[in-house]
Amino acid sequence: MAYGVRLGLRGQAAAALRLLRGHLPPNARPTGVRGVDRLYSLVLGGDGPRPGVRRLHILYADHVRIARSEDLDIVLSAFESEVEVFVAVHAPARVFVHAGVVGWRGRAIVMPGRSFSGKSTLVRALLNAGATYYSDEYAVIDVRGFVHPYDRPLSLRTPGAAPGVRPYRHDPESLGVRRGRKALPMGLIVSTRFREGTRFRPRPASAGEGVLALLANTLSARMRPGVAMVALREAVAGARVLKGPRGEAAETAQQILSIANCP
């Protein structure tokens, strides 16, 4: 069970189940409930090479094959992406927004954005400046508009690496960063993306613009728009909204924290 979504895991060997368990979303825990919302089945390809035989690992979500490869890491990575999205879309009491989140002085700073908009880099810069880690992937928002931590390792791309290279996962503690534990009200929404040679000169935006910026990155928006909009309305109620492109992350992080410090 993760965020109220019931997940089933099936494998022909205990090793397969162990592998799948290691890639479940944060907060997933065993439960005795009967029936599942989705059943994942991993078929391992077997050990060692055999002439003329491809040792394929295959992953199914219910009856649909979602991954098939000789490389087990690729299959497990597909499982992780798939199960995360499934939970994010179907969680009954939470709204998942694709965003980086840090905690600062009892409030959450949320930076919604698509892949490659520089969210994780900005989160890392804010953590270096003393903020608390909440997530570099999802802002998990409840119906009161509070933001919960999404307890996953920080994912950082190596500077200068080719775009195809997968990012490395870092445990926040190994980077000397504090993890946030309790849900926070939203204090600041920063809608930005990296633009080379730019200085961060954000313009204040309205609460409605904040809702749209979050909604454009909300996974369950199409399936449950009513729930999403109520949660986002509550979330922006006490928050300030900033919009505009940013330059270097460290400088931007300092500016964001200065703005967050202003009452």
């Binding site: 979602i66 798939e82 775009p163 195809g164 809702v211 909300t218 399936m223």
Partner: protein, 151 residues
């Protein structure tokens, strides 16, 4: 627009009221609209009984709007174009043309309806760049995973 008095759509819209703004989600088209104060005042009076002139008086009274009737027309045209009015046929006139007619280009208080397309879940998550190892199309930003590599 037709000669009938403007009437807002009831079905297929989810509406959230914010101070000075309105967020309207079109459940069929999966588009979210943000109406500023002026557009909100007009939209909330699209009840099939309020005339353009009455709407204009509200804009004058609440916002001190100048050329209020023209502003009401601008708002109604935008609302019709975004399919938020019942049975209205939108005029194919751009906002810029309206602004030129009003002689008020750049005035922030004019009725404004800003729209976003709400993404499918796969488009709102982290995806893999070209060249990354993959096993399904959904993992890649391009939507194409060929021979276990994102195109």
């Amino acid at each position: 627009m037709s000669d009938r008095l403007p009437k807002a759509r009831i079905d297929g819209l989810h509406i959230e009221d914010l101070p000075g703004e309105l967020i309207v989600y079109d459940l069929g088209r999966h588009r979210a609209h943000r109406l500023n104060q002026a557009a909100k005042l007009v939209f909330q009076r699209c009840d099939g009984t309020t005339t353009r002139e009455q709407m204009a008086r509200v804009l004058e009274h609440e916002l001190g709007a100048i050329q209020a009737e023209a502003q009401v027309d601008l708002a109604l045209a935008a609302l019709a174009r975004k399919h938020m009015l019942d049975g209205a046929t939108p005029r194919r006139e751009s906002r810029r043309l309206w602004l030129r007619r009003l002689g008020l280009a750049g005035t922030a208080a004019l009725p404004l309806v800003a729209t976003i397309g709400v993404p499918r879940p796969a488009h709102a998550v982290t995806c893999l760049a070209t060249g990354a190892a993959c096993s399904s199309n959904a993992q890649c930003c391009s939507g194409l995973c060929i021979l276990n590599l994102c195109l």
